[in-house]
Symmetry: C2
DNA sequence: TTAAAACCTCAAGCTAGGTTGAGGTAAAGG
DNA sequence: CCTTTACCTCAACCTAGCTTGAGGTTTTAA
């Protein structure tokens, strides 16, 4: 038996979660969230979708892509919305990646500090510019972080 | 008088710098590098373009966007290729941003650690999901880093 | 001298993560 | 009941940072 409050409209989900309706459609297309339809073909959501969205947003802040989030969800039993225990698992995995990402940036920063004033900025000798990317190579295999730093917007 | 080695073809620049020819065209379109043409309308570069590319790549690794790199170059006298002193200035500016970015991620990681097992992942109470984004709000105004973490690729 | 390799321009395509708008239907409030 | 607000689909558009391809020219090396 589904209570009134247990069936959220897309507008309410948007309002409560702070994401746009179009984003919810988008996430649904991408298989990140689910809904069913009422008689009038309008989307209805279980409240747990809010939790799912919160996980998506948290993961995004950590630099996890939507497709990775999707497969993380898919790896859970029944593709369910993460329980607390599920969240523990996902979070510690992502936290690991986050640590690696931080470590990468710290290395970069340190090289950078070393380079200030050294005038070494030549292709051959400067560790900041290196085809083989020492920094990445030293990494611990953080696949999801490989293309990280080059992707900011203005 | 320009020596032979002082006039690099696009192919040679590509080879030495490790970026594709198409990328060099792209950077030129964007105003990040410059070239002149020979009689046959082919691009020729001064060797300093390599240094410029190395600065571009280093900046990208720090999360600086091409348009920001462009304006950084534009801020230099004569829009010149960064000298060692110029590099000092740019690098310390970007290093500052990098530090802020690292600090942001560390905060995120720490919240995440706190959240593991706490089951707090609700829209209202979890600091990981917060419309007003406490983490960002606590920041030091790192404009270029605002949209950072949400932009990974697969 | 001639063939291959390198170069040219311009347009279109790609990934990620969405947003916008047109044209039409459903639900809610007074 | 009737108007307004919310919702629907589908396609097109957007930024960033490039890559690919078509069709044509120039340079280089045997």
């Amino acid at each position: 038996m589904m209570l009134e409050e247990a069936r959220l409209t897309v507008g309410k989900v948007a309002k409560r979660s702070g994401v746009k309706v179009s984003t919810l459609h988008f996430y649904e297309d991408k298989g990140l969230i689910r809904s069913w339809r009422n008689n009038g073909n309008q989307r209805r959501y279980k409240p747990e979708v809010l939790r799912r969205i919160s996980v998506i947003k948290a993961a995004q802040k950590m630099g996890v892509s939507l497709s990775e989030i999707k497969s993380a969800f898919a790896s859970l039993p029944n593709n369910r919305t993460p329980t607390t225990e599920d969240w523990d698992l996902l979070a510690s995995k992502w936290r690991k990646a986050l640590n690696e990402r931080i470590a990468y940036m710290e290395k970069l920063r340190d090289y950078l500090t070393g380079c200030i004033g050294c005038g070494c900025l030549s292709m051959n000798s400067c560790p900041l510019y290196n085809k083989d990317d020492e920094l990445a190579a030293e990494g611990t295999g953080a696949v999801i972080l490989e293309k990280t730093a080059a992707q900011n917007s203005v």
